[in-house]
């Protein structure tokens, strides 16, 4: 009895001492960390393929259920999938957009408009040594949909990982020692405050088998922010190339060793042997850094580039080209289009696409579970079917229509011109002096300037309209502008939602204004994601055109018309919007071609005839 008492006394003392020995601040830090993890993991998603074979992880980024994952996860899951969340509930989800090169996919969960979602962080602020944790569904363990959490630190930043296979290339990614295992793919990497800084997707495995070796890579959230608008467009997104090859020279500088003479970089003045100094605001000292910067931007974006040519430094804005031709990328993802069937031949079953061999440095192909119905995907549920529209070249065309309608409705709410289908007469002062008058109708586009009068017939072939000389085809571009406002995107012909782009003119960058704005060492990425503009693109009359809408007002801010892929577009910038007869209308139009401004006109008189007369 005495011994028992003594033992209990000692135990009591130990217990008190144990509590007393932990400092209050440590307990608080521990509690804070648990709270952060608890909150963050609510947004994590366990993805299961609809047929029960395979899956991975994801993370919800908006209350209406948009969620990020890896392309290589959704590729195995099909267009419809099941997503389990920490609340123990299983939601239907549908594919929205894919980025096969960057290994990102956007899906949408259905059934709520108040999904717990992750707060986006700024991955350019992350430093080595910072705490980080990965949440996900490793080995598809989350049978009750409760995610697994692994805690670690950031092991490296701005990592470049060489392409694996034909598509995949990880650039500017984060490296962590938090355990990343098969099934973690597509899941979130959070910082110590529970902000989303990356999507886990790859690891260095090599000799050790396909389990964690302390080296996982996450696609930086800032890269994804650049692509998010394109992904929401239901697209198969491509990455960019400069159209030039870069190498490190013996003196340690990075220089152009090859350049395509039909590339935008060449037209902007970049030549063989030039030294690359800065790109998107980042100093370039290694080829890896250059590739890191290049890899985080979608094609068609204009990115500031500083180069040195024969001792002199130049600032240019380079329009990035696609890494693939559109059909090439689609073929790699969706396969070749089926050849038209020969009428007399017996119908043959097309051979299945060969399965891609998993790369040795790519973690997941996903872990497999025993199939419920081997080889047979269940039919798409009706609620998912309503949000899915297959179209070649798109991951899900339904979302393109949604985004296009949203953008157009916003624009048309400011000014509806569908009844003004008659002739438009615009008069104003030229910045260079003198007066200009424009006449635009369905069949003609004309300009009268101090230099004279030019009139172009607007027919099926806009590519042949180059007037006025040196403008890149301003009359054709103006007619496209009027056409969009009058008929709208549905009847424009082949006009689709493109995604989001920064509105940067070449002048902005030559002025160095954009470099200051976008610069520091934070690049374009992330810092101004909220200022990205909605864009639509399409073809009409044999030219490719792109309409860019102001992110704040929804007004049409710019139009770019490409008469030929090898030439600069004619650019129109619309500004100084003001209300005229109940509709907002631009009072200033600038036309740019190449590196120069062709004209700027301040409109003083605007007459828009009602339709029916022609």
């Amino acid at each position: 009895m005495r011994y028992a008492c003594a033992a209990m006394l000692i135990l009591a003392i130990f217990a008190t001492a144990a509590r007393a020995e932990v400092d209050e601040s440590v307990l608080r830090a521990e509690a804070d960390r648990m709270a952060v993890i608890d909150r963050a993991q609510q947004a994590a998603v366990a993805i299961f393929a609809a047929d029960g074979q395979g899956g991975g992880s994801g993370v919800v980024i908006s209350p209406d259920g948009y969620a990020l994952s890896n392309f290589h996860v959704t590729k195995g899951s099909g267009d419809a999938m099941k997503c389990g969340m920490a609340d123990g509930r299983l939601y239907d989800a549908v594919i929205v957009g894919i980025d096969p090169v960057g290994d990102v996919a956007l899906v949408k969960l259905l059934g709520r408009d108040d999904f717990p979602h992750a707060e986006m962080g700024d991955s350019d602020q992350v430093q080595v040594g910072d705490p980080a944790f990965a949440v996900g569904n490793p080995f598809l363990l989350a049978t009750d949909f409760t995610p697994s959490v692994s805690y670690g630190i950031i092991s490296g930043v701005h990592r470049y990982q060489y392409p694996a296979g034909t598509l995949l290339e990880y650039t500017d990614c984060l490296q962590t020692d938090a355990s990343i295992n098969p099934g973690n793919s597509g899941g979130p990497l959070f910082d110590g405050q529970g902000r989303l800084i990356g999507i886990n997707g790859r690891g260095s495995f090599e000799k050790r088998g396909r389990v964690n070796v302390g080296v996982g890579y996450a696609i930086s959230i800032n890269q994804i922010k650049n692509f998010l608008g394109h992904l929401k467009a239901g697209r198969i997104v491509d990455h960019a190339t400069l159209g030039a090859r870069i190498a490190t020279r013996p003196d340690g500088t990075v220089a152009v060793t090859d350049i395509l003479d039909d590339s935008d970089a060449f037209r902007r003045g970049l030549r063989y042997g030039d030294e690359i100094v800065r790109f998107a605001g980042r100093s370039i000292r290694t080829v890896n850094t250059f590739k890191n910067v290049l890899g985080i931007f979608p094609k068609d974006w204009r990115i500031p580039l500083t180069y040195r040519h024969e001792g002199k430094t130049y600032d240019i804005a380079v329009r990035l080209e696609g890494l693939h031709s559109p059909e090439e990328l689609v073929a790699k993802v969706q396969g070749r289009p089926p050849a038209p069937e020969m009428p007399d031949k017996p119908k043959q079953e097309r051979p299945k696409q060969p399965k891609e061999v998993p790369e040795k440095d790519q973690p997941d192909d996903q872990p497999k579970r025993g199939p419920m119905h081997p080889g047979q995907a269940p039919p798409m549920p009706d609620n998912v079917k309503a949000l899915f529209e297959a179209r070649r070249g798109f991951a899900n065309y339904y979302f393109n229509k949604i985004e296009r309608a949203r953008t157009w409705n916003r624009c048309v709410a400011r000014g509806d011109f569908h009844e003004s289908s008659g002739e438009w007469t615009l008069r104003g002062e030229l910045a260079a002096g003198g007066e200009a008058q424009f006449r635009l109708s369905n069949s003609i586009a004309a300009i009268t300037m101090p230099g004279g009068h030019l009139e172009a017939h607007i027919g099926d072939n806009l590519a042949s309209v180059t007037d006025p000389p040196g403008s890149g085809g301003m009359l054709a571009a103006l007619s496209l502008w009027r056409r969009l406002l009058v008929v709208g995107p549905d009847r424009f012909g082949n006009l689709e939602y493109l995604g989001t782009v920064p509105l940067v003119t070449s002048q902005d960058i030559v002025d160095r204004r954009a470099i200051m704005l976008l610069g520091h060492d934070r690049a374009l990425a992330g810092a101004h994601a909220s200022e990205l503009c909605d864009a639509m693109s399409g073809t009409y009359g044999g030219v490719e055109c792109r309409f860019i809408f102001d992110s704040k007002t929804g007004n049409l801010a710019a139009l770019e018309m490409f008469r030929s892929p090898d030439d600069d577009p004619c650019e129109l910038y619309f500004s100084d919007y003001a209300e005229i007869e109940g509709r907002v209308f631009p009072r200033q139009i600038e036309c740019r071609y190449g590196d120069a401004s062709y004209l700027t006109v301040k409109l003083s008189a605007i007459k828009l005839d009602k339709g029916g007369s022609e």
């Binding site: 005495r2 011994y3 003594a6 006394l9 000692i10 003392i13 130990f14 001492a17 144990a18 007393a20 020995e21 932990v22 400092d23 601040s25 440590v26 830090a29 430093q127 080595v128 040594g129 910072d130 705490p131 670690g152 630190i153 950031i154 092991s155 490296g156 930043v157 701005h158 990592r159 990982q161 490296q175 020692d177 260095s204 090599e206 000799k207 050790r208 964690n212 070796v213 302390g214 080296v215 490190t248 340690g252 000292r285 290694t286 890896n288």
Partner: protein
């Protein structure tokens, strides 16, 4: 009765418990402070890590490893491996500067090597300031694992704790490792290609040891995450730096004895010297010769003569040319998984 519980002993227990808890309080406070400054710790340690490139690059043999700077004048501590088995060892520092490195010396028992690059004013780990750690100590491992970092990119950092301090029982392939001394076993996954030669520090950035090579535990066959404590290596490093391991310049005939030792005198026949750097394997031992008396055998690989590293048949012949035939030669050979040291003397001339 010694085990009798008394009020006095109870007071003693309370007192010692209080002392202990106070101590623990200090330790945990220090721990909390450490975690906050991890960015700084990393920033201070990164410039002291070197990326080393050399031989390899085929059949799963990486041509890179890690190293840590141990002097402002460019002394670099790393593991001794095939990567260094070339005349073209290249070192890239944290800021992207590249240097050609010279192999000052190596110790096959510890499997360490010291390189030297021609630089000054570098950040480095002061070996004398290295600390030792007990199990539970939180640690960081800095390395060039998987060759991820190139140029001016930062080395990778993993975190963990010292899981135990124990003797190394490991093998590479079927070979037991020569070093069987104490190591830190850590729970960070340091055992990756290219990580060997990296630094293990505590959370304050103080050096604890050098990350070891890719080895498997002899007992469990699992990959070992370990580092060799600095105190195990300092004597050897000092010797190498002091010049005891330095290979002498080869073109100074004045230093050569009139009658030097030869392989023939020792009764050693090496494999035919057909490569630029043919490893000095014993092909045959002449019966009755000094080599035979010392029990040297065919297939023995000569590593050291008189504590000088010999990496090729040519290097061996060159080293011998500096040894007078009246002197005793100390030879270290590797036979299977054992290191064997013997002394050889040429027969006295009539």
């Amino acid at each position: 009765m010694p085990d009798r519980f008394t009020p006095a002993s109870s007071r003693r227990v309370v007192r010692s418990l209080l002392t202990a808890s106070l101590l623990l309080l200090f330790v945990s406070l220090a721990g909390a402070a450490q975690a906050v400054g991890l960015r700084d710790t990393v920033a201070q340690a990164e410039p002291k890590i070197a990326k080393i490139y050399g031989a390899g690059g085929f059949q799963g043999l990486e041509a890179y490893q890690s190293g840590l700077l141990i002097s402002a004048e460019g002394h670099i501590l790393t593991v001794w491996s095939y990567v260094l088995d070339t005349d073209e060892i290249s070192v890239t520092l944290f800021d992207g500067r590249r240097f050609k490195a010279q192999l000052l010396g190596a110790d096959p028992r510890l499997e360490l090597a010291v390189l030297k690059i021609d630089a000054t004013g570098l950040s480095y780990f002061e070996l004398a300031a290295a600390v030792s750690a007990e199990p539970g100590t939180r640690v960081l491992a800095f390395s060039n694992l998987f060759g991820i970092a190139t140029g001016d990119e930062q080395a990778s950092v993993l975190h963990g704790i010292v899981a135990s301090k124990t003797r190394l029982e490991a093998r590479r392939g079927v070979f037991e490792t020569p070093y069987k001394g104490p190591v830190y076993v850590v729970d960070a996954m340091t055992n990756n290609p290219g990580a060997a030669g990296g630094a293990l520090t505590d959370f304050d950035g103080r050096l604890l040891g050098m990350l070891g090579k890719e080895l498997r535990n002899t007992l469990s066959n699992t990959w070992l995450n370990y580092a060799i404590p600095v105190d195990q290596m300092t004597t050897t490093i000092d010797q190498i730096r002091a010049g005891n391991f330095v290979r002498k310049p080869t073109d100074e005939p004045s230093q050569k004895p009139e009658k030097a030792l030869t392989l023939e005198l020792l009764g050693l026949v090496l494999v035919p010297d057909v490569l630029e750097r043919t490893p000095p394997f014993v092909d045959a031992v002449r019966p009755g010769s000094p080599a035979a008396n010392a029990d040297l055998r065919p297939d023995d690989l000569l590593l050291f003569v008189n504590d000088r590293l010999v990496q090729s048949c040519k290097a061996l012949a060159n080293e011998l040319s500096f040894v007078d035939r009246i002197d005793t030669l100390k030879v270290t050979v590797i036979r299977g998984q054992d290191l064997i040291e013997v002394k050889l003397s040429a027969p006295v001339e009539p």
